[in-house]
């Protein structure tokens, strides 16, 4: 038995749910939001937001209804196309009615206007032309996905020039807006060790504690743990350091060690040039943000008077245990598997202290700050499994006071 025709089930409510009345209601809601903005923009903000959202949802459902009634007849195409075109007035009204500070919402509304107008054009076109246009869209979409795949820098070489140009000049807005910009290079070129973030917090009464991320035990759900694991990866982008700068930093560290009698030797099993890893600008911003978060979330301990004095952050690589170590009964949790790179000291507001002094125009470092900044602080384990934990020593040391 065939489906019940739409016309056969049109009681009063159904007739009001046809595209035109719904579209009018959507436009009315948007208009009302605009009027309320004129009356009092601040106090009416939540109501306006709800009205705009309701308007957009109603416009969307009107478009769905209109498209469902679409046939290949020209008159019908004209009607449906005009309904969709008029529906684009709703995001346009919302664009005008929304607060100027909501810039990302305006971006979405512009996209909606574009989608509605493109949709109106698609409906209006005859079948072949419509398919041609959709085909172009398919090519554009998958071209963007391929560009995202190909514009990743391969090891020891620049990225593909064409993909880079296409990414910057053609695809960036599209793939970022839709978040289809993943390159899908999973576990390649080689799977590496995970990154962790260790924070050493010191309070006014002198007590200290470690907070480590990700922490499986303290994650309320497995997904939280995965997200923390992903978050720490954002601290892992390292800038290329010229040899001269490396040597200067090395001397700065050695001088400070002598001056403050804080002997933290280099790691014996890591190449010297890998023991200093200065993060790039992006990772510095991320580390600073995580420091501010930790400072806000841990303002005091035990009593409000016992305030956070400072925190020190370490980006820690948890090296993969070797098959030899597994065979000989070692644990992956032994301290020697952790490579901790010091990321700086932060105050109770999460502001970085003793940072390098940088000339604003050239972004060149004119004076080094903390002598251990961005250096690997070793944890060593000898043949008899005695551990010397310089990270613990460094975290508690007050060498900066003597600067």
């Amino acid at each position: 038995m065939a489906d019940v025709p739409v016309e056969a089930r049109t009681p009063l409510l159904q007739s009001w749910l046809r595209p035109w009345p719904v579209l009018c209601a959507a436009l009315g809601a948007t208009l009302l939001a605009g009027l309320l903005k004129g009356v009092d923009a601040t106090s009416t903000a939540p109501i306006r937001a709800l009205l705009l959202l309701a308007g957009l949802v109603m416009a969307g459902s009107a478009v769905v209804k209109a498209v469902r009634r679409r046939t290949e007849d020209l008159d019908n195409r004209l009607e449906v196309s005009s309904q969709i075109a008029i529906a684009s007035l709703v995001p346009l009204g919302a664009f005008l009615g929304i607060d100027w500070e909501w810039d990302s919402a305006r971006m979405v509304l512009i996209a909606l206007i574009g989608v509605a107008l493109f949709g109106a054009l698609l409906v209006l076109l005859p079948s072949q032309a419509r398919r041609f246009l959709i085909s172009l869209l398919i090519l554009y979409h998958f071209g963007g996905i391929f560009t995202a795949v190909l514009s990743v820098k391969p090891p020891n070489a620049p990225p593909m020039w064409l993909a880079n140009q296409l990414w910057v000049h053609v695809y960036q807005p599209y793939v970022q807006f839709l978040y289809v910009n993943n390159a899908y290079h999973f576990y390649s070129p080689d799977p590496g060790p995970p990154t962790m973030l260790w924070a050493h917090l010191k309070y006014a009464d002198g007590t200290t504690e470690w907070t480590k991320f990700p922490d499986r035990q303290n994650s309320p759900v497995p997904m939280h743990y995965q997200r923390m694991l992903a978050m720490t990866e954002s601290t892992n982008n390292v800038a290329v350091l010229p040899d001269v700068l490396f040597q200067l930093r090395q001397k700065h560290r050695e001088d400070a060690m002598t001056a403050h009698k804080l002997q933290i030797p280099p790691h014996p099993f890591v190449l010297p040039n890998l023991q200093l890893q200065v993060p790039n600008e992006y990772s510095k911003v991320m580390v600073a943000s995580y420091a501010r978060h930790l400072a806000r979330e841990n303002p005091w301990k035990n009593s409000p008077g016992n305030k956070l004095v400072r925190l020190r952050l370490y980006r820690v690589k948890h090296e993969i245990i070797s098959p030899y170590d597994v065979a000989t009964g070692h644990s992956p949790l032994e301290k020697k598997h952790y490579l901790a790179y010091y990321q700086g000291q932060f105050d109770s507001e999460g502001r970085m202290q003793f940072d390098d002094v940088v000339e604003p125009k050239t972004q060149q470092v004119v004076k080094f700050g903390d002598p251990f900044l961005y250096w690997l602080i070793p944890i060593m384990q000898d043949a008899t499994n005695n551990v010397t934990d310089y990270v613990e020593m460094h975290a508690k040391a007050e060498y900066q006071r003597k600067e």
């Binding site: 489906d3 398919r131 959709i134 398919i138 090891p155 839709l178 999973f186 799977p191 991320m286 949790l333």
Partner: protein
């Protein structure tokens, strides 16, 4: 002896028949061959993208992906403010402003830099074209915890309705909007799973995924019964071009993901020497190394090098072959089961040994795009028979596929 004309000529260039290849090419054959190639491509393209498909498979993917999306976003509820709560979030407003407005976009210069100059005179090989990104989210603009929680609940409701298939055309858009809103706001807390989630919901949003296995359909059936009487039977979901379009997008994107993952691994020395997967199996942050039997197995393998090498090299070869082979094998109806089974095995392994369960399940949702609707209908019928009236959206579904119809040829 007269040569048989090529099959392609029989179908597409009947002009070539009388003479055939033995008689030499007729005048203008080159251009006709050219036309034939274009026509073939055009027909192939039309058939691939613009033929009609049953939306039942999409209905099944909607339910699976909807449950996963709901789980992912319910998990945001634990520590919601640390994800999206203005300055209380891990990524606070200052860091968000950097990503949105300051993050440099580097582009390589148009010309080849001269190699015959000193380093001081050397042209830069790239310059900063622009700064910032095209990210958007309502959570960029909302600080008040009350409104953040309200919006979160609103998104959860939309996602629930989408999973159930109620007002699916609208709730799918709201679900996509919700998914991207969290992703763009907490952009440093993402991993591969989020990319897969966005892809699945993007293509489902463009599809009639609510036309099958949904409350929308159940409402349609109930309305039909009300008007036409209890004997009313809902016809099967109507095949549509948009259903085919979404399925093709899912299938093609799945293949691109596999191909990119496979080819990028070929750059890795550990994939070449067969030891790459040790870094996954023995990665304490991912692998279940705290589980006794798992760790004991690793110890056993490490004490028997031959076994260790066989296990690691074997799994590396399996991964590479699968990721490089499936994008091609899966299009062949005869070999499709092989591709699907391999993908299911790979993602089960990833879920079990690397803890990326939701990622793997989203990938399996994409694999499901290769399943024929008959198989899904058969499954729906089985579930309906078992659950009776417990799952109302299965009522009014079309006739189930028969066992013999469960072939993966489309």
């Amino acid at each position: 002896m007269r040569q048989r004309p090529h099959r392609k000529d029989v179908i597409h260039t009947p002009q070539a028949l009388p003479g055939g290849p033995r008689d030499g090419p007729p005048a203008g054959k080159e251009s006709r061959e050219g036309e034939s190639l274009v026509t073939d491509f055009y027909r192939g393209w039309e058939g691939f993208w613009f033929s009609k498909a049953d939306p039942t498979t999409l209905g099944f993917i909607r339910i699976c992906a909807g449950i996963l999306i709901l789980y992912v976003h319910l998990s945001y509820s634990f520590g919601l403010m640390s994800y999206v709560g203005g300055d209380r979030a891990w990524l606070d407003k200052e860091a968000v402003a950097f990503i949105r407005e300051q993050y440099p976009v580097e582009v390589y210069v148009w010309h080849f830099p001269s190699p015959y100059v000193t380093s001081a005179e050397q042209d830069p090989i790239y310059y900063i074209n622009s700064k910032g990104s095209y990210s958007w989210s309502p959570f960029f603009h909302i600080d008040d915890p009350f409104w953040i929680v309200t919006l979160h609940i609103g998104f959860l409701v939309a996602m629930t309705l989408f999973t159930l298939g109620l007002w699916t055309r609208v709730t799918s858009v709201l679900t996509w909007f919700g998914v991207v809103s969290y992703i763009q706001r907490a952009s440093t807390l993402l991993f591969g799973m989020d990319s897969m989630m966005v892809l699945v919901i993007l293509y489902l949003m463009l599809s009639p995924c609510g036309d099958a296995l949904s409350l929308d359909r159940w409402l349609q059936w109930r309305r039909g019964r009300k008007l036409a009487g209890p004997s009313y039977q809902l016809p099967p979901p109507e095949p549509s071009v948009s259903a085919n379009f979404a399925l093709r997008c899912l299938q093609l994107n799945f293949c691109i993901i596999y191909l990119a993952a496979g080819t990028s691994k070929l750059l890795g020395s550990l994939w070449w020497n067969g030891t790459a997967l040790w870094n996954c199996f023995a990665n304490y942050s991912f692998a279940p190394m705290g589980v006794g039997i798992y760790y004991e197995t690793l110890v056993f393998l490490c004490r028997h090098r031959w076994l260790w090498e066989l296990a690691m090299t074997g799994s590396a070869i399996f991964t590479l072959m699968l990721e490089l082979g499936v994008p091609f094998v899966i299009w062949s109806p005869r070999l499709r089961w092989l591709g699907i089974t391999g993908a299911v095995l790979l993602h089960t392994g990833i879920g079990l040994f690397m803890g990326l369960t939701t990622f793997s399940m989203f990938m399996l949702c994409m694999v499901a795009a290769f399943l024929p609707p008959e198989a899904i209908r058969y499954l729906a019928k089985e579930v309906r028979d078992q659950t009776g009236k417990l799952l109302p959206f299965l009522a009014g579904q079309p006739q189930a596929g028969k066992r013999e119809e469960l072939v993966l040829s489309r």
